[in-house]
Symmetry: C2
Subunit: 271 residues, 2 copies
């Protein structure tokens, strides 16, 4: 299995602190050593760094740690291969263009007997179940709309595909188009929102503390999503199985409740 | 205008030497300081590094210089903006997936009154003429074939689109899908093929010499393509306006002659 990290903010923010703890799980404090990647949106532009070496030993990760990139939406992934060999083509996150925007996707889980029919718009390059799921998700959206519809419509359509795919296994994922960030939980996914009054946070994987009040303005709002909590002195909310969230501007904007009990419609969140 | 660098090899090869001279043109030995990028194919997988800072002052370029990535196909670009602001979304090379492979494209030139009709499969994310041309090129291929046809068919189809686009201005470009590398010259493009017996090469932009005979095996063959020659003691072949080449396995595999006089058909090259 793998680990996911996501960030969605209302102002371009440096993810260094969270990445510092996260990247150590790629072979140092945990066993996810089969490659890693991170994508940073800057407006509609996107940088995607991937490496098939463990993140704790990757020159690309070393560069990311030292180059404080500010981004509104970030998705990172460290891989423990379950399907597909260790190779660059199988390294998350994956990228595609749809409706004139880049879409980025990373998956934690394992899908069985999952082999969607050949599609018109999106095709896997590698051999993972994860990339097949990403392509199916985009294909369903693109088949329905030739231009980007409202975020609510996208959210509801994603929820439908999620229900289709989760029949095949574990499907924790983070997805973003640079505007909003979608997070789905099958088994393990946590999030928190940092906002004023900002406090100090202490990493679990390394003895590092940051006082966010010295690095932020009172208007800043930052949502961080991770497979397992990254800090030990903040309140992380655990998502329930089946929960699907859409983050926008650093807060939960849309939420579909967990499937126990099932709640189908998306409802706006006051944030 | 911008500068292009490409490499196509019959064995995964480190591009460090060529990149060493090339990246200095991004603000140090030349004035192309509006961002840069480089893509490395490893099999079907692809790493794309882009940065909107000048390459001579980019932490990403510094990392690329120190991390000897071996690749069969590389495309790099340093940008002097002509159309579109300096931003990540406008930074070459651009990436798309088609027929289950990544396609990478970088352009040197400037296209006027070039605004293709909205398409079905590929849409620009940024605001450059270059990305519009890339999307048009892929769109024409994808509209014709739903699965990848022969390299000869792809080559001839690219030649048709090239003729359509060059009516709008200067269209030097390098394109690759990780198998083959296509290079088209409107004004400035040079190439050479390094093969046994390997010799020493000396950079133009920096006083560095490499003896390739100590770094290669007799079977290696490496084609390097660049806007302007990178070395001053090797024989670079200048492409003629209208010439379109397809490199495969480190040699010229298909060639369309320059358009003065026009020669339409692609002809295999003995290499």
């Amino acid at each position: 299995m793998c680990q996911l990290l996501g960030m969605n903010c209302n102002t371009p923010t440096d993810i260094s602190f969270s990445f510092e703890g996260f990247h150590r799980r790629g072979g140092l404090t945990d066993h996810h050593a089969d490659g890693w990647g991170i994508a940073f949106f800057e407006g509609k532009g996107c940088r995607l760094f991937i490496d098939d070496r463990p993140s704790c030993d990757s020159p690309v990760a070393e560069m990311v740690r030292r180059y404080p990139l500010k981004s509104e939406n970030v998705i990172a992934h460290i891989r423990k291969a379950t399907q597909g060999v260790v190779s660059l083509a199988n390294t998350h996150p994956f990228i595609r263009e749809m409706w004139g925007r880049y879409w980025i996707f990373a998956h934690n889980g394992n899908l069985h007997d999952f082999d969607p029919a050949p599609a018109a718009y999106f095709h896997p390059v590698g051999s993972t179940d994860s990339e097949r799921a990403f392509c199916l998700l985009l294909e369903r959206l693109r088949q329905r709309w030739s231009e980007q519809p409202s975020q609510e419509e996208v959210f509801d359509a994603i929820a439908e595909v999620v229900d289709e795919v989760t029949g095949h296994g574990i499907f924790n994922f983070i997805l973003s188009n640079g505007e909003a960030l979608f997070a789905h939980c099958s088994t393990h996914l946590h999030y928190l929102v940092r906002q004023a009054p900002f406090q100090s946070a202490h990493l679990i994987d390394e003895d590092i503390t940051v006082d966010f009040s010295t690095l932020t303005t009172p208007q800043d709002r930052i949502a961080v999503i991770a497979t397992q909590p990254l800090t030990d002195n903040e309140h992380w909310t655990r998502l329930l199985p089946g929960e699907l969230l859409m983050f926008s501007q650093g807060r939960v904007a849309l939420r579909r409740q967990g499937t126990h009990p099932p709640v189908e419609a998306s409802v706006p969140c006051p944030g």
